[in-house]
Symmetry: C2
Subunit: 218 residues, 2 copies
């Protein structure tokens, strides 16, 4: 019984890593769809969200069953608690990739992103990819140091977000209100994506160290 329990826990962890990779891939595709006005790719991302939602339902149910059947205490209880929160963050990251894809779809065949801010979104896409790859590593290896490195990329995302607003508010923004709305919402989607990645990493750190407060991480 006990071994079966730990196998189930390990398998849930593997599924979380897989889910992180899936939403990372979704955000990468969404960024490409956005920058290339590639509507077929945008549709792929949108259609793929069903799989992410199903993964969340399944994983959450497995966590709750494990809690109810095995009566874990202490570390095990905390591990399963953390897993249910991580799976919620990851699902939300999938939603945000879909939001990006939907903006690309809505403006097709035009580009939603004007040339001036294209480099910012290209970079935001790269940072998002790195963040989610690091998040997967943090989950897979319970790697507290990798979690710390993730915060640096989150800071970078915040910088990109501020840079975006500077572009929008510069005197020579020539693209009007509609493009400004798109860019504002897109900026928010990338920022939230990064926030959730950091949130996952922090939960793992909390799990490993037992400390909610991480003085050196915020």
């Amino acid at each position: 019984m006990r071994q079966q329990y730990h196998e189930e826990l390990a398998d849930i962890n593997n599924c979380l890593v897989e889910m992180a990779n899936t939403v990372g891939s979704a955000m990468s595709k969404a960024t490409t769809a956005l920058l290339d006005a590639d509507v077929a790719l945008a549709d792929l991302v949108i259609a793929g969200d069903e799989q992410v939602d199903a993964a969340r339902e399944s994983l959450e149910q497995r966590c709750f069953m494990l809690l109810a059947q095995q009566q874990p205490v202490a570390t095990d209880l905390r591990t399963i608690t953390a897993a249910t929160r991580i799976v919620a963050d990851l699902e939300r990251m999938g939603d945000l990739a879909v939001h990006v894809a939907k903006v690309a779809r809505m403006r097709f065949p035009d580009h939603a992103v004007p040339l001036e801010v294209r480099p910012i979104f290209l970079e935001a896409g790269h940072v998002a990819e790195r963040l989610v790859a690091q998040t997967a590593t943090v989950i897979a290896k319970l790697d507290v140091e990798a979690a710390g490195r993730l915060e640096a990329d989150d800071d970078l995302m915040d910088q990109l977000h501020r840079q975006l607003f500077r572009e929008l508010l510069s005197k020579d923004w020539p693209h009007g209100i509609e493009a400004a709305i798109d860019v504002t919402l897109l900026g928010r989607y990338y920022e939230r994506f990064a926030d959730h990645a950091v949130s996952v990493a922090r939960r793992v750190v909390y799990l490993v160290t037992g400390e909610r407060e991480m003085q050196n991480m915020s």
Copy 2:
């Protein structure tokens, strides 16, 4: 033991209702702070979020303890599962009230919301208040019909959101990009607030009826 368990479950439910009322009150105050450029009220909302976060932590822990200690099955398992998700939605609604308050604070002593769209935000505030009051009723009484009525107000919020974009994109929007950014983000905060309220109601319906799909509700 069994009676104690049901008392704990009932008390968790009471706390969820209380939390719904708290985030509803936060959003009402945030709307007033926004429309009156009332920075003291905005600060109250921002400071109050700590209490909402603490309520989430506490309630979630109580749910997990109940799962781990009482090994519930069937309806009880579903009830506790739903409670952990509801508490996450409610906490997020509190965050969104804070986001609204922060926009009011950022633009103080100016008004963040131009006169043209003021009626829309006034109405969005009212709809948000009704939504959260209905949500509290749905949780308190496991009232499936009230949950259905909630969807109508969610539709109204979507209409207000579209009306907001029409105002932003009308030829005579005279307030420039910065106000457009504020209004875009504010619109999204109210829309997400409504989404989470509906999400809570749907979970309660799922709990009562055991049906994830509600043909007459979407």
